[in-house]
């Protein structure tokens, strides 16, 4: 797999040089956070075969928890992020316990409805700031030592977090747990007949995916210094599905590529074409479902397999 290694090497060099290339670090960090969100989602959809339609609930709960602790309680960045992750894990567990019993469409509908519930909690609860969300989240410091005001320093930390999560997901998927998960995705009755407690595996995958999504959410809160209703809205859930689908479900790098394309499109297209962004994203969605189900990375992998390796 020489080619793949070379690709990642190039990408790594590029990523390390971002601040030097004059690219806006805040934009890159936002991209990395959404890439993490998409990778977490892909764990559930691509490797676990479960379509959740309300994943924004986990991204958002963690974002709000982190924001609230950092503003109202004055927590520093790292503890606030950890607490946010714990919050999304808890929410993931609660939602998972209800949703796991069902499959397919019903599973998707339950996640959708429960995500709406969480949206309304975020809207109505007295400490979440309602329509305004929570603003002015301070950057804080790294364990009380280094202040995080510098965009560049924060960028490298977020990059490190991204790489760590990416490698962690790879590890999980290649582990025995991951193998069983994929087996359940491919043929559930057979997995049951082999004696595996299918629901336990699925629940664990669900909670893991929710927790990692939460990690992305808390990082995003520290980077952009706010948590708002956009984080828990239905649109955000739809976006992460698109990123995963576009990039390639069930691949590792797919969600990252998908997130890169979608976030960049939204950021730069909206300046050029304004409101057409939604239409374009919808059209891309439709096109992907009809003709491009393997996604970018999947299609490239298939193309590489079909050409003789030089």
């Amino acid at each position: 797999m020489r080619a793949a290694n070379l690709f990642f090497l190039l990408l790594g060099v590029f990523a390390l040089c971002v601040p030097l290339l004059g690219i806006y670090p805040v934009f890159m960090m936002k991209l990395l956070c959404f890439a993490m969100f998409a990778c977490a989602y892909n764990l559930l959809l691509g490797f676990g075969g479960m379509l959740s339609f309300g994943h924004a609930a986990f991204f958002g709960s963690s974002a709000y928890a982190t924001a609230w602790l950092a503003t109202a309680r004055g927590w520093d960045a790292a503890p606030a992020i950890l607490a946010g992750v714990a919050a999304s894990a808890l929410v993931g567990l609660l939602v998972g316990l209800i949703a796991i019993r069902r499959r397919g469409i019903y599973f998707a509908m339950i996640t959708l409805a429960l995500a709406q519930l969480i949206y309304f909690v975020c809207l109505e609860a007295p400490f979440t700031g309602g329509e305004n969300g929570l603003q002015g989240v301070p950057r804080g410091t790294v364990f009380g030592v280094l202040p995080l005001k510098s965009d560049v320093l924060l960028y490298y930390l977020v990059l490190a977090a991204f790489v760590a999560q990416y490698l962690f997901i790879r590890r999980v998927v290649h582990s025995p747990f991951g193998q069983v998960l994929k087996a359940i995705r491919d043929n559930e009755p057979r997995a049951i007949s082999l004696g595996y407690d299918v629901n336990r595996y699925r629940l664990l995958a669900f909670v893991l995916s929710a927790t990692l999504a939460g990690f992305a959410g808390s990082l995003k809160t520290i980077v952009l210094s706010f948590a708002t209703l956009s984080d828990v809205q239905q649109a955000a859930s739809g976006e992460v599905i698109l990123m995963t689908l576009l990039g390639g479900m069930g691949t590792f790098f797919g969600p990252v590529a998908g997130a890169a394309v979608v976030v960049t499109l939204q950021e730069y297209l909206s300046e050029i074409v304004g409101g057409w962004v939604t239409v374009i994203i919808g059209a891309v969605f439709v096109a992907c479902v009809l003709t491009f189900r393997r996604g970018i990375v999947g299609a490239m992998a298939a193309w590489r397999r079909s050409t003789p390796d030089g």
């Binding site: 019993r101 709406q116 239905q234 479902v289």
Partner: protein, 294 residues
Amino acid sequence: MTEIFGVPVAVILGQLMLGLVNGSFYAMLSLGLAVIFGLMGVVNFAHGAFYALGAFAALLSLQHLGINYWAALVLSPLLIGLLGIASERLLLRHIYQLEPLYGLLLTFGMALVIEGLLHQYFGASGQSYPVPSALRGVFNLGFMILPIYRAWVILVSMVVCFSVWYIIECTRLGGTLRAATENAPLLQAFGVNVPLLVAVTYGGGVALAALAGVLSAPVILVSPQMGSSLVIVVFAVVVIGGMGSILGAVVSGLSLGVIEGFTKVIYPEASNIVVFLIMALVLIVRPAGLFGKE
């Protein structure tokens, strides 16, 4: 005046009345969804978008072509139904052999495109559609003033829901539809043009959504996002009723509208989520829905 829970009876009755009006919309929309899911196994995420299209068709035809409300009640569903048939032929039929999740995703994408286009051309703020002159005025019910138009909405949706139920359960056409749901290849072997049936069914379900759109135009502002928040609630309604059940869709739609109205009286902040809470409960206790068959 008398009070229950510290709330005047007049207010309770008024909210229940409004809840019945909302419930009528829920019933019509979930009816279309249930029909489409029952026959095609597709969860039509674009239902809300077609609902908005129906309202916009009525609005635009009034503004530019002078077509009045009564004509729009017929023409808009017809037009949008044809659009639905076209989308089915062009887009949906490619994904039937795939997993159901792709149907969800495809219709989700369709909804984004439709709503995005509406947003582009009409902006985010809504436009108002006038109440037809024959239906202006109010009924003084004593406990509240009920605009005549809202009573009309309840009437129309009852008639439509009952007619659709009747057609599906008691006529030959309905029988054919139900047969297609159970065993499409066998039905095709009997000489029925099943693909055409499917296309027309999708068009019909979508037309129901458009009709709801026209009905709602004088009540709420016609805006591009009018369908997107509604469609999630309607999904919950359909799940509660049982995903393929026509009767379930109508009954749950009406009851949930009323329950929502009641919640607005005792605990207004929860009125937005009461439907989802009930859905979660129903799914735990009776996973197939109240009227559904597993």
